[in-house]
Amino acid sequence: MRFLKLIAVLFFVTIPLMAFAAEKKAKTVDELAKMYDVSSCKQCHAKIFAEWEKSIHSKSLIGTPRTMGGVQGAIKNWMSFKHSGVKEAKDVTVYHWTTTCFKCHLPQIEDATDEVASQIAEAYMKNDKATLAKVNINCLVCHNKMAVTHQWRDGKPEKDAVYGTKEGTHGDKKYKNRKKSATMTASVMCGQCHQGPLIDRPVTTQCSTLYGSYLNAYLPSGGDKTCQECHMKEVDGHSMFSFRDRNYNDPEMVKRALNVEVDVKKGYKSIELAKLPPSAKVVVKITNNAGHRIPDG
């Protein structure tokens, strides 16, 4: 009886593990792009999709393109670091990426092989924007892969679901279900990436530091808004200011974030310091109404 129980336990433990191990990994950048293909989203969410296409999120490996320069610099640094295991771009593995840049810029790299990691590193060093543009932060990254922040409690994101604010069915062949994410409307959703520094890594990485500013400066100063409240507008419940373009290139967003007042005082000549020329005071007051320091990332 004990033996049968042992067999049963082994069966139920090992089969899921084997299935997990056998989970297919992308072997090329194209395969990874296909794995995270969002072209079907466009059919029903055309407006949101068009906004996303123009956004920095859709160019997460290239950026403004300062991201591209930053990542190239990081790869060069790794090559110069004695213990990194990287002598050439081709030596870059999934581990290197998930430990650093792609924790945020391409979290789905963990669904790819080291071959893909290497291909992307080489694309960076060749300034191959066409390859780098194939993969990005898209609908599926936020609405599936990164949609569950408390995974020990709530489990991993389900493969056939898109996560949002409601439960139900979803009119897509692959992603048939809608699931409610506990944190989709909470700041931590954005904070998963817009945070830092990453001091727990073998190569410490300080890129974005914004979520820390939100937690440690904005909230203690009496702020009570979420990232989504300021950066997303109620258009189809989704449209993001930052999806249109960079925030500093959006006059409406700048107006919401910064208030600048300039006060000029009438000039005067000091009687007691008669040798000094007349002078006038100019006072510039700049108030940051945003939920984080400016500038930050």
Partner: protein, 107 residues
């Protein structure tokens, strides 16, 4: 972010100029001096953070002296977001977030 304040006479001569930079100055936190560093793999912590803090007001006061025989000056105030030390092309390397011109005069 850069705050430029300049004062010019009516014939365009510069009487005052100030450029203040607000940014995170990152160091490497390895007790190897106070040198600012670039690059995510090197940066760790801040040597200085003089950015605009959330829900706070930063007040900058300028004492502008009038050149001899000058009673009026045009003061230009410009707040820019820019990537590097140079202004570069507006809309590509830097963005003007606020701009105004005000006149100051002696009594």
């Amino acid at each position: 972010m850069v705050l430029d304040v300049t004062a010019k006479t009516k014939d365009g001569k510069e009487a005052f100029k100030s450029e203040k930079i607000y940014m995170l100055h990152a160091g490497d936190s390895r007790n190897e001096g106070d040198q600012m560093v670039y690059g995510p793999a090197n940066k760790l912590s801040f040597l200085e953070d003089n950015t605009f803090q959330p829900l706070q007001t930063k007040v900058e006061t300028y004492d502008i002296k009038f050149p001899e025989n000058t009673k009026n000056l045009d003061v230009n105030v410009e707040l820019r977001f820019q990537y590097g030390p140079e202004v570069g092309s507006i809309g590509k390397d830097s963005w003007v977030l606020f701009k105004t011109t005000k006149e100051i005069s002696t009594k």
